[in-house]
């Protein structure tokens, strides 16, 4: 596969259970501090552990804007704005159709949708409020960002379950690399902490119950005593541009987005398959022009389900061969939960920070590793002062879409370190 252009990462933005703003995120990751807490779900007679963003965003928007904006879109707008500000950009009208936005979500405006169901089914309203349709739509986040920042080229929303924002970022990479556009904002957002989504996922019997001793320990990927997935909310974006575009405007970069692999299982709507996952990983490594042994860190998908983590461990062994024994692996879902459509983007941001800040983020609460998940785990505590030249983030979605993204340090361009002063606004 011929590569047309080098694509670099010049901006990061995040709103997550483990940090709102990049500095906050680094601080949480450096201590493996959990952002998982107990979350009530009105209408359901139970509470769930969940990765919660512990703040309202009502003050960040006017009362004229708010009715149009589900929490999903509020977090997306803020994380995207952070990424643009970090890259030194704010609007793209002078790019015409050569600026794009690639966005991933699973549930879109889930809170707005549930509010409408309440009106329909409990209050017996025959018509929604005027803003409901706009706030429910899956593409509303992308549209709201494009309107605010005049992104006038492709504004695309992808929904590939838990790989959504990973495929969005991968497709953005291809669009820039292949020369269709010069700059792209890419990421995802999800606000699923509603009774509808909690109850829907609970039906799969894949959800963790709150840990009896400490709810923050409820998500335990790869652990022998893992008990299921923990939902989370948040948004994450990266700013991608061709290296020549970044160089022309004197922008430093965190590194290259060097490889993208996407492969589908063609197997089962809910059960993953190791072969499909492994192919996505291999494709990303090949796309980056690397060998498995070149990967210095792998941020795994591992959601802490009984079956999924074993399949993924097998996939890593298949994809990496002998290098599976040495590549450090962690699942940071242990501290932020599973952000569904936003999880790939958040985990890629974490992977980028691991590379630029030279540390290996940990899988928290990994006291006893499941022998079936045996890998070179970064267990419980992060490892600091670890040189990382190239790293991978992997995600896998219900329905069988698998996506892997490889980042690498850039040899020629000025290296950028994360700004700890990027605030959550």
């Amino acid at each position: 596969m011929s590569k047309k252009r080098d694509v670099v990462i010049t901006g990061l933005g995040v709103v997550s259970p483990v940090g709102c703003g990049i500095g906050d995120l680094i601080s949480h990751l450096s201590t493996a501090q959990s952002g998982i807490r107990l979350c009530e779900a009105p209408f359901l007679q139970k509470s769930f552990p969940a990765g919660v963003v512990p703040r309202s965003f009502a003050e960040d928007f006017t009362k004229l804007e708010l009715p149009f904006l589900d929490r999903c879109q509020q977090m997306a707008i803020i994380a995207a704005r952070q990424a643009m500000a970090d890259a030194g950009l704010s609007e793209f009208s002078n790019h015409g159709q050569r600026a794009g936005l690639y966005f991933g979500t699973v549930r879109g405006g889930a809170q707005t949708e549930q509010a409408w169901y309440e009106q329909l089914l409990i209050e017996h309203k025959g018509t929604s409020r005027p803003f409901t349709a706009m706030a429910m739509m899956h593409n509303s986040s992308a549209a709201q960002i494009s309107i605010r920042h005049q992104i006038l080229g492709p504004v695309m929303t992808l929904s590939t379950a838990c790989a959504s924002s990973g495929t969005a970022i991968g497709e953005a990479l291809r669009a820039v690399r292949d020369g269709y556009i010069d700059v792209a904002l890419a990421g995802g957002s999800e606000a699923p902490l509603t009774a509808c989504v909690f109850g829907g996922f609970d039906g799969t019997r894949a959800m963790a119950v709150p840990d009896a001793s400490d709810v923050g320990r409820s998500c335990r990927p790869f652990a022998k005593d893992r008990a299921g997935l923990v939902l989370g909310e948040g948004a994450a974006f990266i700013l991608l541009e061709s290296a020549e575009h970044a160089t022309r405007r004197g922008a430093p970069c965190y590194g290259s987005l060097a490889g993208y692999g996407v492969a589908s299982d063609g197997y089962h709507i809910a059960s993953p398959k190791a072969e499909g996952e492994a192919i996505a990983m291999r494709l990303a490594i090949e796309d980056a022009g690397l060998a498995p042994a070149d990967i210095d860190y792998l941020n795994a998908h591992a959601t802490a389900t009984r079956g999924g983590d074993v399949v993924e461990a097998n996939a890593i062994r298949l994809a990496f061969g002998d290098a599976a024994k040495t590549v450090p692996v962690s699942s940071t879902k242990s501290v932020h939960g599973h952000l569904l459509g936003a999880t790939s983007a958040l985990e890629l941001v974490i992977t980028i920070l691991a590379m630029t800040e030279s540390f290996l983020p940990a899988t928290a609460h990994l006291d006893e590793i499941d022998p079936q998940c045996e890998l070179n785990h970064v267990a419980n505590s992060p490892v600091f002062d670890r040189r990382i030249e190239r790293a991978m983030s992997f995600s896998s979605g219900f329905g069988g879409t698998n996506v892997a993204l490889v980042v690498s340090k850039h040899r020629e361009m000025p290296a950028k370190r994360a700004s700890v002063s990027v605030l959550c606004s």
Partner: protein
């Protein structure tokens, strides 16, 4: 119900629902200048329908109407429904 009463209700709704300052909401203030779009207006119409127990059928406003023009359209609707 005359235009002035309806205008007062619209002003109150714009203030309460959307946080606009009352001093901005003169009869000649235009929706576009206030940042109010057609869906905001529709929300206010729904409030009025609920309050007045009626259905507003003809919502054909002139382009970028003033608050006074919005009040006049509603007033015509109410007269038609009477």
């Amino acid at each position: 119900m005359d235009n002035a009463v309806i205008l007062t209700k619209i002003q109150a709704s714009l203030h309460d629902r959307f946080g606009l300052e009352v001093v901005q909401l003169g009869e000649n203030a235009r929706l576009g200048d206030l940042g109010v779009d057609s869906l905001h207006v529709l929300e206010i119409m729904l409030d009025l329908e609920a309050e007045l127990g009626t259905k507003l059928v003809d919502l054909s406003f002139p382009p970028n109407p003033s608050l006074g023009e919005v009040a006049a359209v509603i007033s015509r609707n109410l007269a038609g429904n009477a």
